[in-house]
């Protein structure tokens, strides 16, 4: 008998959809107790690889492999019945998209019980007891009540825990987790990762799929980097993180904002090829704006004592925003960090005066803004721009890129791009989009290109302040890096001021001069970014810092006591 029989052995895996090859010649093994992370950006074929291991690549797929041993079973020509015996019993699969992976019409308890029932494990009452035990094991409070709830009644983190409970119900020898922490807040993501780490300690093998090297750095033993359907580099975690050989691995590492000081470039210069975008001439790096602004500098934006409550929301025992105040200095970035529900977006909407504050006021360039009438604001609205998390839903789906920009350039007077050909071309060049994009529909653009277009549209009326609400949260780390670099460039070139909102502490720390830490509608802590994060006063800031994923190789100031 061999010393170690791998739980999973894949050799030369090819997957294609209708003649288009998406995975080519992928090979790897996972041994008991080992955690292999497969890292790559969207479209690199990593999710399809994971699904192929369970015969779930989907309709229209063609999977070929010379070896596919899953938990001691040769799975190359397995019947449907054979696959079903493996799924759930030998291999626990935690799928991407925790928010929609539970049936909204069924209780969580039933969903978990399915795994037990399908592999005929025990009587009804035994299974019910096991469900409660599992919910407790994944750290859900009040498991009896949780078992009778449906996914709509649970938060994102709870849903992911329930899914993990279903995946580990039968103590599978192998766990496959596809982006298990995407779409979760940082502190919740950290606790889910540590839960997965605990599972590994019980001797299960684990295959972890992610676009973010920093997210897997804490649990992976070895890492395989995938690009365009192929594994381009593999090695132990320390080899990959400390001494990456392949340029793509290096670019993925460089893209992680954690531990990169302000204005450090995250994406490769001349980023053609990463996003199909022409490289733009970049100005020489200049120093960030004076760290200590002259005392007579007038803030571009000042908010004082903002309050807002939404009486319609049944949960609104507390106002959504309570007593928030800040100043944004010209050419500076003010970061607002907090988890979902902390009141960040409501604050941004009050600044944009899309929502009228219940109390408090906003001043723009030293003049009253929230207290005057909309007619008094209209002429000044062009100095305030905004970009959002989901750019596509903020575009009129019937408009082409150039019409969208013409609409913004003419302040809504016309959507005919012919009058604005030069301006449209200038805007596209400014955000690093090819001129050919002008005639396309935004729906056909990639996520990174859409966000570039959103920035171009926001810049069209020549604003001086940009409100950025989670502008990179839906993007892969490598695309996020390009967008963050672009925002840096534009700030330096145009002297823009940013109010930058994110739940991601690493992004905020990389982008901001000053920072507000928000929770439950209140500002817990504020000040210069580096002083807040190197010496956090509030325990919540310390817990945020502790849960932010970071690369072990990168050295940054201590993370609090």
């Amino acid at each position: 008998m061999n010393a170690v029989v791998p739980l999973l052995r894949v050799e030369d895996l090819d997957v294609s959809f209708g003649g288009t090859s998406v995975v080519r010649g992928v090979s790897f093994t996972v041994s008991p107790g080992e955690c292999l992370a497969v890292v790559g950006e969207s479209g690199s074929g990593k999710s399809v690889t994971a699904k192929s291991l369970l015969g779930l690549a989907g309709p229209g797929s063609l999977v070929r492999t010379t070896t596919l041993d899953v938990a001691g079973v040769d799975a190359r020509n397995l019947s449907q019945r054979g696959w079903r015996a493996l799924r759930g019993k030998q291999v626990g699969f935690i799928l991407q998209d925790a928010l929609t992976s539970l049936d909204p019409l069924r209780t969580v308890g039933k969903e978990i019980d399915d795994a037990l029932r399908l592999h005929s494990s025990g009587s009804g009452s035994q299974r019910a007891a096991r469900v409660i035990e599992l919910l407790e094991a994944v750290g859900l409070d009040d498991p009896v009540r949780r078992a009778s709830q449906r996914s709509g009644e649970l938060s994102g983190g709870m849903r992911q825990r329930a899914l993990i409970a279903a995946a580990i119900a039968l103590d599978p020898v192998l766990i496959v987790a596809d982006e298990p922490t995407t779409a979760l807040d940082a502190t919740i993501a950290a606790s889910v990762m540590s839960l997965l780490g605990d599972l590994r300690a019980t001797g299960s093998g684990m295959l972890l799929i992610s676009h973010d090297l920093a997210a897997v750095a804490s649990v992976a033993d070895s890492i395989a980097v995938m690009q365009a359907g192929q594994i381009v580099e593999r090695g132990t975690r320390d080899q990959i993180l400390q001494n990456p050989q392949h340029p793509y691995t290096r670019s993925l590492l460089a893209a992680v904002p954690a531990g990169k000081p302000r204005f450090t470039r995250l994406s490769p210069t001349g980023d053609a090829g990463m996003d199909g975008v022409a490289s733009v001439a970049r100005p020489a790096r200049t120093q960030p704006p004076a760290t200590a602004p002259a005392p007579d500098v007038l803030p571009v934006l000042r908010a004082r004592g903002l309050y807002k409550s939404f009486p319609m929301a049944k949960s609104a025992a507390l106002p959504a925003v309570r007593g928030v105040g800040f100043e944004l200095l010209p050419g500076h970035t003010l970061g607002v960090v907090g988890e979902s529900g902390s009141g960040k977006t409501t604050t941004a909407r009050m600044v944009l005066e899309l929502v009228t504050p219940d109390a408090g006021d906003v001043e723009l360039f030293g003049e009253p803004w929230s207290t005057v009438s909309e007619a008094g604001r209209r002429s000044r609205r062009s100095s305030l721009g905004a970009i959002y998390q989901d750019p596509l839903s903020s575009f009129d789906p019937r408009l082409s890129t150039s019409s969208l920009l013409a609409d913004a350039l003419s302040f809504g007077a016309t959507r005919n791009p012919r009058k604005y050909t030069t301006e449209v071309a200038e805007l596209l060049a400014m955000v690093g989009l090819e001129p050919g994009v002008a005639m396309r529909n935004p729906a056909t653009l990639s996520g990174g290109q859409r966000q570039r277009l959103a920035i171009a549209r926001a810049l069209a009326p020549k604003p001086r302040v940009l409100i950025c609400d989670e502008p990179v949260s839906a993007l892969d780390v490598s695309v996020q890096a390009q967008i963050l670099d672009l925002l840096d460039d534009l700030q330096q070139r145009l002297g823009l001021s940013y109010l930058f909102i994110s739940h991601d502490l690493s992004v905020i720390r990389h982008m901001s001069d000053d920072v507000l830490v928000m929770r439950a509608g209140e500002v817990l802590e504020s000040g210069k970014t580096e002083s807040v994060f190197s010496d956090p006063q509030h325990h919540y800031t310390r817990s945020l810092l502790a849960s932010a994923p970071s690369l072990p190789g990168s050295h940054r100031a201590q993370e609090g006591p």
């Binding site: 909204p104 019409l105 709509g152």
Partner: protein
């Protein structure tokens, strides 16, 4: 990100909200019945002709002027319109539907006889439509693009077919040519088959289109993939997940569908010579039998109100995401 915040705070089974829901439904129902009674009262007076003539045996009768005047006085037709209207509303509110002009027996007695066969016809029609729609939806999601296209074509054709044409074709094929089923409705179960199928087929096409869409979406969803990854079979995914999602829009539409079945019954009962509300309504309108028309319309509207409430309740029970509003 934070989907359905509202449902986090949903408190199902609050007694106060259930009572409020019921009260709201009852209030809405009473309003509908009042509106129907009013529309009928004024609407039927716009039809040319003299109701007294109808009382005395229709336009063909040779009733004398004295006899007509006596009939007018007896039925209150010589009173001012507003007196007639409020008197009518009061009688209806106290449960007095009056006496049929043409049949000379209390309307309530006529309805007690006619309501059950129509309810049976419409109820069976709804049931059969549901079964056909679900079978079509399952077949089309399970059998790839060709099966899906065939099912979709069937649905469009059947939902576009008018009842009278469908009834004639079914009679020609199954009664005249094959002789399997009676061409007129009899009291035997066999006599029910053709009327029920005639009513159910167009509705099945309509329901099938809605259910198939929802079912296909559920089959492709992340939760279905999750279930497969737990070892669930394709049949299991269908039965435990997709079918329930597909049923939701069907339940929501069933109230409306039942209403359309009641109006379809007018045609179907006439063609198959089947006793029921629909056929009586037709003859009552022809005979200008105001009390009977009013009674049939009110009972149909009442049945519709009850069915709508039931379908709303069913929707709430089947979909926990809908809170008490």
């Amino acid at each position: 990100m934070n989907t359905s915040k509202a449902s986090l705070t949903r408190s199902p089974g609050v007694p106060g909200s259930a009572a409020r829901w019921l009260l709201g439904k009852a209030g809405g129902g009473i309003f509908v019945l009042w509106a129907v009674a009013t529309a009928i009262f004024f609407g039927i007076r716009m039809i040319p002709g003299d109701p007294a003539q109808a009382i005395m045996g229709g336009p063909g009768s040779q009733a004398s002027a004295e006899a007509l005047a006596a009939a007018r006085a007896q039925y209150g037709l010589d009173q001012p319109l507003y007196v007639q209207y409020f008197g009518q509303l009061w009688r209806l509110a106290t449960g007095d539907l009056g006496t049929s002009y043409s049949l000379k027996i209390p309307v309530s007695q006529v309805l007690a006889e006619l309501l059950p066969p129509t309810l049976i016809l419409a109820g069976l029609g709804l049931l059969v439509a549901w079964v056909m729609a679900l079978v079509l939806a399952v077949i089309s999601t399970r059998s790839g693009p060709v099966g899906s296209a065939v099912a979709s074509g069937l649905e469009i054709v059947s939902s576009a077919v008018p009842h009278f044409w469908l009834a004639s074709v079914l009679i020609m094929v199954f009664s005249t040519a094959l002789g399997w089923l009676p061409p007129v409705s009899t009291s035997t179960p066999a006599g029910l088959v053709l009327p029920v199928v005639t009513l159910a087929l167009p509705l099945a096409g309509f329901l099938g289109q809605v259910m198939r869409d929802t079912m296909a979406t559920a089959q492709r969803s992340a939760f279905a993939l999750s279930a497969r990854a737990r070892g669930e079979s394709e049949i299991g995914v269908l039965l435990r997940h997709s079918l329930r999602h597909a049923a939701l829009p069907g339940i929501a539409l069933s109230g409306w569908a039942f209403g359309s079945l009641l109006s379809g019954a007018v045609v179907v009962e006439s063609i198959f010579a089947r006793p029921g509300l629909g056929r009586s309504l037709l003859s009552a309108v022809t005979a200008r039998d105001i009390p009977l028309v009013t009674g049939v319309a009110l009972v149909s509207a009442g049945a519709y109100v009850v069915i709508m409430a039931l379908s709303d309740l069913g929707e709430r029970l089947a979909d926990p995401r809908i809170g008490p509003s």
